[in-house]
Assembly symmetry: C2
Homo-oligomer: 361 residues x 2
């Protein structure tokens, strides 16, 4: 595929992925894990994907200081200055704003695709075509573009985007963004044909996003704009360490996308999943005839149905008489719970931290 030197990619890789505990740990969150045993972590897969359409030297990873070594180790192709290290966890808006100021200092014509580091894309060619078209679109239009996914089920774990009129060639103006809906509402959304999953993947020209941030998030811009002049220089990290912690904790969705009046969406079906939960992993994985999923481990199942087992390679798991359970083990933690009650995982993590301290988190 064609590679445009004005195209940049920002991979957001600072999350802690607590919904995948204990497989995902604070010291090794899910984007660094190889869930399917393909040999490449989700972060590496994301990098592999975008380097087909973005020059490798234009790919940035924004992550937390504590994941610096992990990121360098998993992506040795990146020069040190291509890894932006946040001193504290904020939300997506500060991360994206910093990346935009940084990139503008390198290339004031840059078009940027911002992508999470933990998504699965099965139809990669279709996906990359859409990204290329989107980058072309934002290079010529002062618009904020997001990627909407055609829903195949009334998923309650995703936010939705309602589309308004088409402006041609599969681009639509966005009418509303919605929070994660209840099941009944999700069914209405899907049946309407007007609602698409919010992928959390964005495209824009660097000047468009900086302008939107200055307009809609002045408090954030006030912290980062003074760094103009040091972005892209050896002093950048020190400036960020001093100023980033004071940035407001706000998401790009809430802070910009839901408020701006120039937001558009490009639609598609890319075999996409945000791999947000064990259930989504279950849905995506090959199953035995009784609906059981066993990832990585060896398994011997008796009277078992609709379970998902994720344990270390070479581990043998023998289970007799379970239905609909998650059995996940990593290092020193084994979790067994109903797989449709996985929302409780945050509670398990919290209780574990309270009772046992940080050792198992």
């Amino acid at each position: 595929m064609a590679v445009n030197k004005d195209n940049y990619c920002v991979i957001m890789g600072g999350g802690i992925g607590s919904r995948f505990w204990p497989f995902s740990r604070k010291t090794l969150p899910k984007q660094f894990l190889d869930f399917f045993g393909t040999g490449r972590s989700l972060l590496q897969q994301t990098f592999d994907r975008f380097k087909r359409i973005v020059p490798v030297e234009n790919i940035l990873v924004v992550t937390n200081d504590m994941y610096a070594d992990l990121t360098r180790k998993q992506l040795p192709e990146l020069a040190p200055e291509q890894i932006l290290l946040e001193p504290t966890r904020r939300n997506t808006a500060p991360c994206i704003a910093w990346a935009a100021y940084h990139i503008r200092a390198l290339n004031p014509q840059a078009n940027i695709v911002v992508a999470p580091s933990d998504h699965l894309i099965l139809k990669e060619d279709d996906f990359l075509s859409a990204i290329q078209k989107g980058l072309e679109f934002v290079s010529q239009n002062d618009k904020l573009l997001t990627l909407g996914i055609k829903p195949n089920r009334p998923e309650t774990g995703y936010g939705y985007i309602q589309i308004a009129e088409s402006i041609g060639d599969n681009f639509y103006k966005v009418k509303t963004f919605t929070e994660k809906p209840e099941l009944e509402l999700a069914k209405v959304f899907v049946d309407s044909g007007e609602f698409y999953w919010n992928s959390g993947l964005f495209m824009w020209n660097v000047n468009t996003i900086i302008r939107a941030g200055e307009l809609l998030l002045p408090e954030l811009a006030a912290k980062l704009e003074p760094g103009v002049g040091v972005y892209g220089t050896p002093e950048e990290k020190q400036f960020i360490d001093e100023n980033f912690p004071a940035c407001p904790n706000v998401s790009i969705d809430f802070g910009v996308m839901e408020k701006a009046d120039n937001v558009y969406v490009s639609l598609g079906d890319f075999g996409w999943s945000d791999l947000g939960t064990w259930s989504s992993l279950y849905d995506l994985s090959p199953k035995d005839e009784a609906g059981n999923v066993a990832l990585k481990c060896q398994s011997l199942l008796y009277n078992c149905k609709d379970n998902i087992l994720v344990l270390p390679e070479n581990k043998l798991v023998v289970v007799d008489g379970l239905e609909g359970y998650l059995i996940a083990e990593a290092d020193d933690v084994l979790l067994i719970c109903k797989k449709d009650e996985e929302h409780a995982i945050r509670k398990y993590v919290n209780d574990t931290q309270i009772k046992m301290g940080d050792e198992y988190i």
Copy 2:
């Protein structure tokens, strides 16, 4: 307690304990494991117990060649010649007969207590008093003595001994030995007051047992009697390696105790368990208020009842929504099954061996 230099103890430690798989492995069977985290394995506990009444140099362990290193490591107090190594697995009669010939070569007046290596004894003083009384009894009587345990429940996992007339001082003639009964019969046994659990623990004078073996198991004696002259010498191991494999595979219960006419039983209640199954381990272990047992591991349980968890130390196990399950993990195997269906464990082990080979056995 008094230690008599004519008293010997034979600890049988060659079993493979497959009913405790995966905790008990072929390369590390249950007698070498520390189930309760006391710091001493079942074998070590057995040794610790008997050395209070038997001179350490008179304690023998009979085990399999493959457990030689494990035994030496766990019981460094034993001289090399105190560990009798079977070249092949036979049953209890060949093991006991060899030990008897060996001991007679060292001390023709020896009185012997033969004990399994995997029993739990909670009332140790009562137990040792009974053993001392029993050894005194067999030193003066040409009788085979076994230990009967007063049953506290209609256990179907044990064999029973029916007693006949008392000969005073808590010794009774044995009327019959029975196989493991069905539940209804077990209830009748317990209610009758005439039936006691067969502990598999024996006492006799060395000449009594050798004579009984020669009379009742001539095929076995024919293999081992020719070694008289080499027992207790450096040539003993070679003789055993050549002749032991040809010994008949027969238990001491079936081959001698059920057939001899001079069999007596000493009765007691010693807080005894043969720790034969996960259920017996569950019954013996401290429980939380919902009846859950967690051995060794850390646990965080939600909506859980009557489960037994046995996992490595420092492992955190989080379980939500299980009742009556066994969750056992050791090394590279995790087993989850209903704890009252543990008879299926042999099936799991067999299937594992067929499908995966020896790696997980």
